[in-house]
């Protein structure tokens, strides 16, 4: 006869309320684990999906996800010439926040190396990849920009031609994909007045020089488009992505590239490690501490409730001892109740989480292994929580039933 189940049935209300409380706490514990997993997933999503073998970034920097990385766009041509390299792409990534339809719109602007890369690798749930060099974009669903909608960024208007789902940056902002040219135009966009002032300043500087006074054409050039001035550096990109030829030795290519002092080369795994150690590590520790705290609180709550339920049963326990019940029967009653409470709370946490987590603003990713490890934790804390009640029950004298 299972005494634990019968006692729970008798105290169904109290058991249910307590289990709901435990369930909500466990749901938070589960959710925090899911948030951590989500952070990792989101942080490494782009690196995983973009399909590069090597990342070339500014020398002595840790790449565009950790700090500012600026390398000349034409670096990709140098890289293409390295033996073993199949393809080199410019990579531009930066986060912007604009206002759209009266609400703030924060997005990661991602440049695709047009025309080689049109975003065919981007997982679309609607629409199509980019088909023209300018004024088209692919946006993530989280940005709430419907297919066909048009958005003004800088001096140009872009049409949403493709929609992705779950493509977000390490900060949780939705990804948008443009051609590299458009991405850079958005990045370096300056108000017209600022451009005019800059041109005027250039003209004034050239006028102050002998060469400017002797060569009137130079004055015209200085006051014209920046791109028309040969002395000005070409626009810079964040990184160059390298795809190796099939069978090419990565180490050999890295050795060759490693001799270039102006760049640093990372493998995809190294880039992911940099991302995780730099951005996610603190969040992991923070969430881990909260999880530990909540687990301790859950343990204490289960222990107190089990202890209270045990106190309510002191006479019954004394009677069981009087009629000769073994300690195992009495301990088992208490332990099973604690385990049932933990199991019920865990099940409830999982069930509520199914509905609650998808509505969270950041991805909450619940992995099977996390569910299993939490289940193990629940078994352990339930067992620990029952010890107080078992200790009390073991101290009950059978003659308590006579004296009461």
């Amino acid at each position: 006869m299972n005494l634990a189940v019968r006692d729970i049935r008798h105290n169904a209300g109290r058991f249910a309320f307590t289990s709901v409380g435990i369930g909500l706490l466990l749901m938070i514990v589960m959710g925090m684990g899911g948030i951590y997993r989500g952070l990792i997933h989101e942080a490494t999503l782009l690196v995983d999906r973009v399909g590069a073998d090597l990342w070339i970034v500014q020398g002595s920097t840790r790449g565009p996800f950790a700090e500012v990385s600026r390398i000349p766009a034409n670096l990709e041509d140098r890289v293409r010439a390295v033996p073993g390299v199949a393809e080199a792409r410019r990579f531009v990534s930066h986060t912007i926040q604009r206002e759209h339809n009266g609400r703030p719109l924060r997005m990661v602007v991602q440049g695709l190396s047009w025309p080689e890369d049109r975003g065919d690798w981007v997982p679309l749930v609607a629409g199509r990849p980019l088909r023209q060099a300018h004024y088209e974009m692919i946006a993530d669903q989280s940005l709430k920009l419907p297919l066909g909608s048009r958005i003004r960024l800088g001096k140009d208007t872009y049409e949403v031609v493709g929609i992705t789902r779950g493509m977000v940056g390490s900060g949780g902002d939705g990804l948008t994909f443009f051609t590299v040219g458009d991405a850079m135009a958005i990045q370096f966009d300056q108000p017209g007045e600022a451009v005019r002032l800059e041109r005027a300043a250039r003209r004034a500087r050239v006028e102050g020089m002998d060469l400017g006074r002797l060569q009137p054409l130079l004055l015209e050039r200085a006051a014209g488009l920046s791109s028309g001035i040969p002395a000005f550096a070409a626009p810079q990109v964040s990184a160059v992505l390298v795809t190796l030829q099939p069978g090419a030795d990565e180490a050999t290519v890295r050795r060759t590239l490693g001799t270039w002092p102006d760049i640093t080369v990372y493998s995809t795994q190294e880039m992911k490690d940099l991302l995780l150690s730099g951005m996610v590590d603190k969040a992991k520790r923070q969430l881990g501490l909260f999880r530990a705290l909540l687990i301790v609180i859950s343990t204490i709550i289960i222990a107190l409730i089990i202890y209270t339920l045990t106190l309510d049963k002191i006479r019954d326990i004394a009677l069981l001892k009087l009629i000769g019940a073994r300690n195992g029967v009495i301990g088992g009653l208490i332990l099973q109740q604690a385990l049932l409470m933990g199991a019920f709370g865990y099940g409830l946490a999982w069930w509520i989480g199914q509905y609650a987590f998808p509505n969270f603003p950041r991805l909450v990713l619940i992995e099977k292994e996390d569910l299993l490890s939490l289940a193990m934790i629940v078994v352990i804390i339930s067992t620990l929580a029952s010890l107080l009640g078992i200790w009390k029950a073991m101290r009950v004298e059978p003659n308590t039933v006579l004296s009461a």
């Binding site: 049935r9 008798h10 019954d316 019940a325 004298e397």
Partner: protein
């Protein structure tokens, strides 16, 4: 004092039992020198004022309150020698003793049937058999129809019958009843006492009933008076008022 005939093994035999609580100037002698035996099939009534030592003797015989000195044997097997337990007391209780109290003390989250069944299951009876035997006992005591009710849905008399059924479950050698009729009206009290007599005679269990209910004197085969930690055997015809 009362001793058993040499040819029959007593259900219980208590020899020179002494129980002292506290020590030094706080010492209280609850039982001075008690010797008694109860034969199988015998129902013995124990009377005495509050504080006379009845409960001390009962709990000592129930193996939950070790005596300071003296011996207790059950079915001829020595189980206590002074405070020293000679057997696994808990195991011995579940195999040889049955208890009925002033209150039925049923486990509130178990039905009448389960309250009896649990006593069998803790004594290693298979659940199916335990259930069958528990049902037979409830039928025997006339409350089979109430088997699936929780204690809260039973009357005082019904609860006490369930408690008796639980006490009988493992066919004990000795049933100890502590004022089992105190919470019942006189009619129900009489019924319960008749039930004890029936159990003693039909099932050959020794039954010791601690009671204040003088209306039930006729039920007992023997009557013991306890006063100041001493036991006196009373003639059956002697009324309590007339006893010394």
């Amino acid at each position: 004092m009362s001793t058993a005939p040499a040819s029959i093994t007593p259900a219980v035999e208590v020899t020179h039992l002494r129980k002292v609580y506290g020590s030094g100037h706080t010492e209280v002698i609850a039982m001075r020198d008690a010797t008694l035996s109860i034969l199988p099939g015998e129902i013995v009534g124990m009377f005495g004022p509050s504080g006379s030592g009845k409960s001390t003797l009962l709990t000592a015989m129930a193996l939950i309150n070790p005596p300071t000195s003296g011996q207790i044997s059950i079915r001829g097997k020595p189980v206590m020698d002074g405070p020293l337990a000679l057997v696994d007391l808990r195991a011995f209780r579940r195999q040889h003793l049955g208890f009925v109290f002033q209150k039925a003390n049923l486990i509130p989250f178990l039905t009448a049937l389960e309250n009896v069944q649990i006593a069998l299951e803790v004594n290693d009876t298979a659940p199916k058999l335990a259930r069958k035997r528990a049902m037979e006992l409830l039928d025997y005591l006339g409350i089979g129809a109430r088997a699936h009710n929780l204690p809260v849905a039973l009357s005082g008399g019904e609860q006490q019958r369930v408690a008796v059924a639980r006490a009988l479950a493992n066919e004990p050698s000795l049933i100890l009843a502590d004022e089992p009729t105190a919470a019942l009206d006189s009619k129900l009290g009489q019924q319960v006492m008749e039930l004890f007599a029936k159990i003693a005679h039909e099932r050959h269990a020794g039954v010791l009933v601690v009671t204040h209910d003088y209306r039930t004197l006729d039920i007992f085969d023997r009557i013991l008076d306890v006063e100041d930690g001493m036991i006196q055997v009373r003639a059956k015809s002697q009324s309590p008022a007339a006893s010394p």
